[in-house]
Structures are given as C-alpha cells and as structure tokens.
Subunit: 432 residues, 2 copies
C-alpha cells in the first residue's frame, strides 16, 4: 500500500513551517517590523502574482530568463510569481502617487520565488524584508536605511565583530572605470566579473577580466591596482556620484554607526534598476559568505509606470541567510509555546469532569490566559502531562474526583515541579 | 509618452494593500491569532506552491479543473498555487505524524488563489484563517471549533443578531436521503442542488431536482416536506452520524453559545474530503448571502499520504467576506498610524538642525517611541506639519533657531492643537 501514497515532502526548495519553525519566523519578522515602525515606516503588501511585463524591463536577465516562475493564466494573460518586491512597490507608488503623502516610507515582508538550485543560504522561496523611501533625493535617506539595518542587527543582539555594510555608487564606479582606461561598452561585463570577485582567487579574477571582459594587460593592471587601495581614487573623483558617497561616508563617520560602514568598490548588485548608491550587509563569519541584505538608490524605476522621475532608495533582507547568521552566532533565544495552561480531563465517563474543565478553561481564556483543554475522556493523566511537557506548556491543571467534589483544582508547574491543590475560586483570584 | 507606460493596476482579482489596507488586515489577523492562541492553537505555514497531485484526488472537480492555478515548472514538475490549505496541512501532519505531540491543534493564515470571476465577497486571491485539530474523534473537538469561531466574532464586537452557525452531518444527510426514497447514485447531484438552494426560488429548486437530479414527483415531495421541518427526521434517525450531531447540538444547547448554532440540512460544503459534521458561519445581514466560514470533519484526508486513518476537523474563514461583514455592521474601529512623532527639519543649510533632530529622533527610538524624521532641508515647516496631519502622526517636534540655541524643543499635538516649548531634557524626562 505505502508505495501508492503521495510524497509528504514540500516542493523542492520550499519550506514547511512547523510550529517551532513558525515561532522563529514570527520572532524574526516581529523584530523587523518593530524596528521599521520605530523609524516611522508603514507596512504594505501586494499580490503574489503580477503581470510578467513589470519584471521584463528592469529586473535583470538572469532572473527573468532563468529564474522567474511565469506562466499563462486561464485568461491567456502572461503572469509571474513575484521574484522580488521592488517592481510591485514601484507599481503601487505610481498608481497613487498624487494622493500619497510624501516622502513615502514603507516596508513589507513578502514571500518571493526564484527557480534556483537549492543550497545553503538560498532556496526557491524566501521571505524578504523590503524597506524603501520615495521622495528624498539626498543621501540622508540612504543613511537612514543604514541606521535601520544596524538597529535591526543590534536588536537581535549582533555585535560589531559580526557584520558590516559595504557601500559603492554606480556612477562613481563608472567614473573610476573610465579613469582606469576601460571603455563604456565593457562596463556591463566588467561589473559581472567584479560582482563575482569575492568568490574567486586573484588568478581566476584576472582570467575573467582577460577572457570574459576582454581587457588588455594595461587595463587589467589598472583594475588590480585600484582594488588594492580603492580609497584614493574615490576621494579625488570630482563627480556628483563621488560627492554623494563621500557625504554619505561622512554622515556615517560622524555617527555611532561609523564602525559598521565602509566603501567597497566590489559591491555591484545584480539588478538593473540601481542608479546611485548601492550597498550590501555582510556576515563577518566566513561560513556565511553571501550578502544578507542589499539595496541602493533606484531613481528611475517608477518611470516604467508613470511619466515622472521619482527618487527612491531601499533595501531587501532575506530570511534564509539571515537565519543562518542568527544560528551561526547563536543569537536565537529560546522561543516558547504561547500556551500557558493545559486543563487535563480526568479519565471517566462522567460528564461532570468535562463540564468543570470546560468552565475553568473558558474562565482562564476570559482572563486573557492561553489555555488548552484535553478532550478525550479515555486518556490517562500521565499521558496528558507528558503531552504538556513535550509541547512546552508550563502549567497543568488536574481536576480529579476529590477536586470535583470540593470545588478545587490541583495546579502543577512542569518547570519547577511544584504542585498544589487549592480552591478553584482562590486559584482564579490569585491569577488576577 | 503616457500610452507606452505599463499599467499600474494589480492583476485581476488580486489586491494591493496600501498602509491603510494593511492596518485593517493586521487588525483582523491579530484578533484571529489571539483567539486561536487563547485556545492553545499553534501557528504553522506551508509553501505557496505544492505538487499538483495533492489537490487532484480530494479537493473537488470545480476547483481542480476550473479554478486551480497550475503550471509546469522549469524542471518539468506539475505544480499548483495553493487554492486551499487543508491538503498542505494533511501533508505536513503525515510527514511528522510519529514525532508530533497529539492532539495537534494548529492554525494558519495562508494566501490562497482560485481562478474565479471577481465579484463582491469573492476575489482570485484571499487570505483564509485555517483552524484544525487532529487526533480527537469525538464531537467535543467540533464544539471547540464553534467556541473559537464565536469567540472570534465576539472579539470583533459582533452580536447575536449578526451571525449564526448552521450545522449538518454528511452521514446523517445520506441516511435521511435514503429514508426519503433517494438512490445512492443520485446523492452527489442532489447535494449540488441543495448546496445552491439558498440562492434559488422554491420553483427553481424544484426544477433542479427534476431536471438535474432527475428525481420523480414522489421523491421531490419528500424532499420538499423534509426541508419544511427537518428536525424530526434528524431527531429520530438511529445512526452514528445522527447520534454525533445530536450530541454536538446538546453540547451547544447546554452552553453559552446555544443561540448561535442550529441544525440546517442545506449545509453541504463543496469539498470532497468531508466525512462527518459540516458547518458554515453566516452573516445575518441579507446583503452578505455567502458563508463567511465553513468547515467540518475530514477523517480520511491524511490517508492520501500515510497508511493510517487520522481523525481531523477544522474550518476556514476568508478575509474578503469577513471584511464585508465587519464593514456592513460597522465593526471596524479607527486604525491609526503607529508612528507617534514627526521630528521636523528647520529649512536651513546649517547642518546643526539636522544633527540635533537626528539626535533627538534616535533618543526617542531608544525609548521605544516610533519617530519619523524629516530629511529634506528645503521644506517649509508648514508643509511638514501638513504631512504629519495627513499621515495621522499625532505629535510634531520643531527645533528652530531659538530652540537650537537654547537646547529646547517645541512640541505640538496635532489632535488637541496644544503647543509648548520646553527644554529638551525636560521633554525627554517627562516622556519616561
């Protein structure tokens, strides 16, 4: 028989959240939400399915051609399951742009899907905190995003030695490439190589510059020298991109977050819509090489929908790499079942036990206590206690023959193993 | 130009949740969660995409053939976007059946998709609270579900005249059909007709019995007489299904929820997997004719995955019809922005205003206050106040030339229109 059964495994690269997994998810989302609201951000959400075309133009070839879950619906519309939230966000902002008070500070925690090879830190679905500001041109907005990111990390108990933010600027990077003698037509391939640099040996990086980007030896040497000590080139550049990143670095240096932020020209970001500052948050644990969060300025995205240029900056932070971070640094506290009481049911066919137990359960619930009642009248009390123990319910209430007769309850604390029998009335008054 | 832009509308039948919509969603979900946890239920979740086959057998023809969003993934797997949560739940229970403490009391609020014609109370996507118990055979479990449903309704402020639960039993219904002279082969068509009865005139119902179910006049008369007064047939039936529903009705009658629950043989439920008690929650407002919630016992579903019969009962409650209910009965309270303070930025190129404002913002945040800071140094204070007003931020803080010099802040309450200037230190101490 068993071989005819349907598999109980979830779809490849996706997750089942059992109650203990869900507690962790709720813990993480809870802190994400709390910190975002602390900075005045409001929560929004959009649909899981979007028209295909909103990803087509700006989301990037790799995602659209290799990773997108897209299909034709029963009404012949080409649609896609969202692989990222920013196009939905831009669509929503464009839709009500003239009604919405500005600046717009919004956050969301959507579930996103990409057809990837499942591996550590990367699944086919993940949840991603998205935090964005629309309508602030200046780098003070990017600085605020850094404050939020670092506040989130600190709220989880992360310390200075555990993470850092690396920043770059798209325009500055292009200015520098030009100064290094690279032609504009090679920027895109060069960015691809630089984006992979952190995973490559020096030789392999050089090989990529030669074979894929097709740079000559002089250009390659310039690139290599630049990466050895990138600060001077950034400091002396006289363009608005360079000025912006210097201003941003100054804001960081003058504040309590200075130790967490540094300029790093290897930060590229894969998405096509970035126009200015880009940044990524890294785990300093070498086991966790992938960025936990990334973002930047995308002042042009809304123009897909609206004949208007709207400045925007934001970041995303995925739950899979972030959970790895918390696990590796042992930052996950014990997360308990929210249920505080199990009202056991005395094994008896007499209806009174059930009625008394139900009455007490309802009283506890009315008092705002979470209380579960045992319903099967055939189960030994011992087994009910074991159940409470296994589920992490701290208090067990027993109403046996004597307790029923005397209007009493025996209350057992499974942590301290303390047990006492007391009048029901007193038990309830003590709780208040 | 504008005609080349991509549409800003969400995919047909789906919703954008702007911050004010999200506040309502969070309000509803918050109460759903609170009540479920009050009864000891733990939250779980599963993936948005599932293998097609878990819906194929038991979810029902209409959903699978006409409404399911299914497609072939890039690895040639046939998959579907979940149209309901119960098959995922059964899969998860089967997967860890031997490790999970039992009974299993779980809830979830998944987003579900069905390709339907969008209309009032029905969209292509909706959120649905799912509440289920596995491992309790007796109707005390169904009774507990009613308590939860009614507790939810009361928590939202719903009164006796606003809603009711109607119950039936699959086996009892079949026993009664047999007694009325209907053949087993006609049960399925008869159920379809009865399921639509509430939308039909008496004549149209009769026509359906004749033409679709193909009953003769004697059978039709029996059915009509039965529906005129169904209680006696239920009361006298001597089968386990009848005994179960009488026991359940007795539990209700003996409790505080008696006024909300009644036997109604028109309750059928469309899903194929129900095996015993079935029930639906109705709005008593005639504008809102559709059931807001439905459920029942499905003791056989887990056997799709596991060679084992596991008793189960549960219900689902969709957010679209439920929101209509709250709106029509005017049960939605004012839901405010969680941000309490706007720290304005004095329009000046002097950096000190920004620095002082940022320092104060961070202090407020450290004290657990939600505070937003204005970042653009070119905006008139009046415009900043209007922004706060429009967003429902109650308190505005102004640090102008004098305040900066004297270490003060002007605090304005936008509700009471009160305004005072006081030393920064005193402002912060008063807050504590």
């Amino acid at each position: 028989m068993a071989e005819n059964k349907i598999s109980t495994q979830p779809y490849k690269g996706s997750r089942d959240f059992y109650p203990e997994d869900m507690r962790l998810r709720n813990y993480i989302f809870g802190i994400w939400k709390k910190v975002c609201e602390r900075f005045g951000y409001e929560e929004y959400d959009g649909p899981f399915i979007e028209p295909f075309e909103i990803y087509e133009a700006k989301t990037g070839d790799e995602i659209v051609n290799q990773q997108l879950y897209s299909f034709i619906d029963r009404g012949e519309r080409k649609v896609a399951i969202r692989p990222e939230m920013t196009p939905t966000l831009a669509r929503m902002v464009a839709q009500k742009f003239y009604e919405l008070p500005q600046p717009i500070r919004w956050y969301s925690i959507p579930n996103l899907w990409r057809y990837e090879k499942p591996q550590r830190g990367r699944l086919r679905e993940h949840y991603q905190l998205n935090v964005d500001i629309f309508g602030v041109d200046s780098v003070e907005a990017d600085f605020e995003l850094f404050l939020i990111l670092i506040n989130i990390m600190q709220e989880f108990g992360a310390k200075e030695n555990m993470f850092e933010i690396k920043i770059n600027h798209r325009e500055l990077a292009e200015n520098i490439y030009t100064d290094l003698g690279i032609h504009k037509k090679d920027f895109s391939e060069l960015n691809k190589a630089i984006d992979k640099k952190y995973k490559l040996s020096e030789d392999d990086f050089e090989k990529m510059l030669k074979e894929d980007v097709k740079l000559n030896n002089g250009q390659i040497n310039n690139i290599k020298n630049f990466f050895k000590n990138p600060y001077p080139a950034m400091q002396k550049m006289k363009t608005s991109g360079a000025a912006a990143i210097r201003h941003l670095l100054k804001l960081c240096d003058d504040s309590e977050i200075s130790k967490f932020v540094k300029y790093d020209p290897t930060i590229i970001r894969g998405l096509d819509y970035y126009t200015g500052t880009v940044f990524e948050l890294f785990d300093l644990n070498p086991n966790n090489i992938r960025a936990m969060s990334g973002g930047g300025r995308y002042d042009d995205l809304v123009s897909m929908f609206l004949n208007k240029k709207i400045s925007a900056t934001g970041f995303g932070m995925g739950d899979v790499t972030f959970t790895n971070f918390l696990q590796d640094w042992k930052l996950i506290p014990e997360l308990k079942n929210s249920c505080e009481y199990l009202i056991t049911l005395w094994p008896s066919q007499e209806r009174d036990f059930y009625d008394r137990g139900m009455e007490l359960s309802q009283k506890l619930r009315e008092m705002g206590k979470n209380a579960e009642m045992w319903l099967d009248s055939d189960t030994k009390i011992d087994k009910q206690l074991k159940y409470a123990d296994k589920k992490g319910i701290n208090n067990v209430i027993i109403i046996g023959e004597n307790e029923l007769k005397n209007n009493e309850a025996t209350v057992k604390n499974l942590e301290t193993r303390e047990q006492k029998t007391l009048p029901l009335k007193k038990f309830l008054t003590d709780l208040k």
